[in-house]
Amino acid sequence: MIQLYNVSKIYPNGVKALNDVTLHIKKGEFVFLVGPSGAGKSTLTKLICREELPSRGQVLVNGRNVARMKNRDVPHLRRKIGMVFQDFRLIPNKTVYENVAFALEVTGASSKEIKKVVPTVLRMVGLEKKAGMLPAHLSGGEQQRTSVARAIVNNPVLLLADEPTGNLDPETSWELMKLFLDINRRGTTIVMATHAWDIVDSMKKRVVALSNGCIIRDEEGGVYGYEC
C-alpha cells in the first residue's frame, strides 16, 4: 500500500524533517505515527499525499511513485486518500451535508450518486440529524465526524489522519477511534499521527515512533513511549 525507500526531506529553509526513512505499510493496516513535535510525522503524511516531494528516496502509494507523478495525476491520487486534520478543515459556509457532498462533487460525481451516498455516510458517523447545520454550530466532535465522513465518502483506500483528536476531549476522542476502527474493519488502511498516548496504548496497533526525522521504533501492538 505505502512504501518509503530511504526517504529524506529537507525543507528549503534547511530544516531536516526526515532522514533516510524506509517504511512499508500493508493494505488494511492501522498504523500510529508517534513522536515529539518536529519529529517528522506531519512531513511523512504530506509526502504520502504529495503535498511535499521527497528530497531523496522514493515514495510509492498504491503502487505509484508519487515523486515522479505528473501534476495532472495528483488530484486522482488524492481522491484515493481520505484526510483528517486536527483543525477539521471544513468549509465554514457549507452545511454538514454540503461539506461531505463536496468531496464527491470535486470528483465530478452525479447528483444522483451524491444523494445516494452522502446520507449513508452521515448515518455511519451519526450525523444524519445535523446534515443541514453549519460547522460553526457543531461541537468539536461533530465537526471531526463531519470531516471523517468527508474523508471516507469517496471510498478511499487510505485514511491519513494528522492528530485528529488534538482538539477533542477524551470521550469524544474515543468515539472517533471507534469510528476509525469501524472504517479500518471495512478494509481501509489507516495512518494516524498522534500525541494521544492513552489511545495508542490501549488500541494495541502497529506503532511507528519517529524522532529527529528517523524511525526509532516500529512494532506491532506497540505503545506510545518514544524515548530510546
Binding site: 488530484p75 463536496f102 465530478g108 468527508r150
Partner: protein, 295 residues
C-alpha cells in the same frame, strides 16, 4: 464534464457573488466606473472625430478673381486650377450668384442688399475643394500665384489649428483608452485576487479532496465573468440612456453641432463595453488564479 459539475460551477460562482456581496458590489462598482470612463472617452473621441471630419469636409478655398477677365481667360484659369496638387473639385461662381448666395444667408434682412444688383461689388470667384483637408494650406499658396487672382481665402490659421487639434485629440484619445483599459484590468485582477485570497482555505481543502486545477478555477473564472458582465451591462445602460438624453439636449440647445447618432455605432460601443466587461472579468480572474493556484 457532467451536468452536476456544470450546475456546481454556476451555483458556486453565484453563491460566492452573493456571499461576498460587499466585495462583489465593490468589483462591479469598479468595473462600472472604469467602463463609464472608458465609454465616455470613447464617445468623446468618436464625436470629436466626427465633428472634426464634418468641419474638415466643409473646408473650402475661395479664389476671388480680378474684374474684367474674359470667358477664355476664365476657362484657362479653371484648367490651371485643376492641375494644382490636391484640388478635387472646382466650381465657378459668378458675381451675380455670389450676391444671391449672400442674400440667402441674410434671410429676412436681405433688403439691406437691394440696389446692389446694378453695381455689384462682389467679384467672380472659384470655390475649390481639396481631396484632403491637410492639402488646403499648400493648395492655397499655389493658387495665389496664378494670374488674374485677386485674393485667396480659406480661413488662414484656423485650418492649421483645427488640424493640429485633430491630431492631438486622436493621439491623446487613443492613449487615454489604452491607459484606462489597462487600469480596469489591473483593478479587476486585484479584486479577484482579494476574493481568491479570502477563500484560500477553501482552495486548499478542494485540492486536498482531489479537485483538479480546472475545477478549482472554474467558479472563480465564472465569478469574474459574471461581475464583469454585470458591470459592463450597467455601464452600457448608463452610457446608452445618458447619451440619448445628451443627444436630445444638444439637438435643442446647440442644433448646429452634429453628434454621432447612428444606431450602429452606438450599439457597437455598447456591445464593446459589455464584451469588455466580460473580458476584463475573465482576464482579471485568470491572472489572479494563475498566480495563486499550483498543485
Amino acid at each position: 464534464m457532467n451536468v452536476n459539475t456544470l450546475k456546481y460551477y454556476f451555483r458556486e460562482s453565484t453563491r460566492s457573488v452573493l456571499r461576498n456581496s460587499w466585495l462583489s458590489v465593490a468589483s462591479v462598482g469598479t468595473i462600472i466606473i472604469s467602463l463609464l470612463i472608458l465609454g465616455s472617452s470613447l464617445l468623446l473621441v468618436l464625436n470629436v472625430r466626427h465633428i472634426v471630419s464634418t468641419v474638415e469636409s466643409s473646408l473650402e478655398i475661395t479664389v476671388f478673381l480680378e474684374d474684367g477677365l474674359d470667358e477664355e481667360a476664365l476657362k484657362r484659369m479653371e484648367e490651371e486650377i485643376k492641375f494644382v496638387p490636391g484640388v478635387a473639385r472646382v466650381e465657378f461662381v459668378t458675381k451675380e450668384q455670389a450676391l444671391e448666395d449672400l442674400k440667402e444667408s441674410f434671410g429676412d434682412k436681405a433688403d439691406i442688399l437691394s440696389g446692389l444688383e446694378k453695381d455689384n461689388p462682389l467679384p467672380n470667384s472659384f470655390r475649390i475643394k481639396t481631396s484632403e483637408a491637410e492639402m488646403v494650406p499648400r493648395a492655397a499658396r499655389q493658387l495665389e500665384k496664378l494670374e488674374g487672382v485677386e485674393q485667396v481665402r480659406y480661413g488662414q490659421g484656423v485650418v492649421e489649428k483645427l488640424l493640429s487639434l485633430t491630431h492631438w485629440v486622436r493621439i491623446w484619445g487613443s492613449l487615454t483608452l489604452v491607459v484606462l483599459g489597462a487600469a480596469a484590468v489591473f483593478l479587476i485582477a486585484t479584486t479577484i485576487r482579494m476574493s481568491v485570497f479570502a477563500r484560500r482555505r477553501e482552495i486548499g481543502i478542494m485540492k486536498m479532496l482531489g479537485a483538479t486545477n480546472f475545477f478549482v478555477r472554474m467558479p472563480f473564472m465564472l465569478e469574474g465573468m459574471m461581475l464583469g458582465l454585470a458591470g459592463g451591462l450597467v455601464a452600457a445602460l448608463i452610457i446608452y440612456f445618458g447619451y440619448l438624453s445628451l443627444l436630445n439636449k444638444v439637438a435643442v440647445t446647440l442644433p448646429f453641432i452634429q453628434l454621432v447618432n447612428d444606431p450602429q455605432t452606438l450599439y457597437r460601443v455598447l456591445g464593446g463595453l459589455l464584451g469588455l466587461g466580460f473580458g476584463i472579468g475573465a482576464v482579471g480572474s485568470a491572472i489572479s488564479l494563475h498566480r495563486f493556484l499550483r498543485v
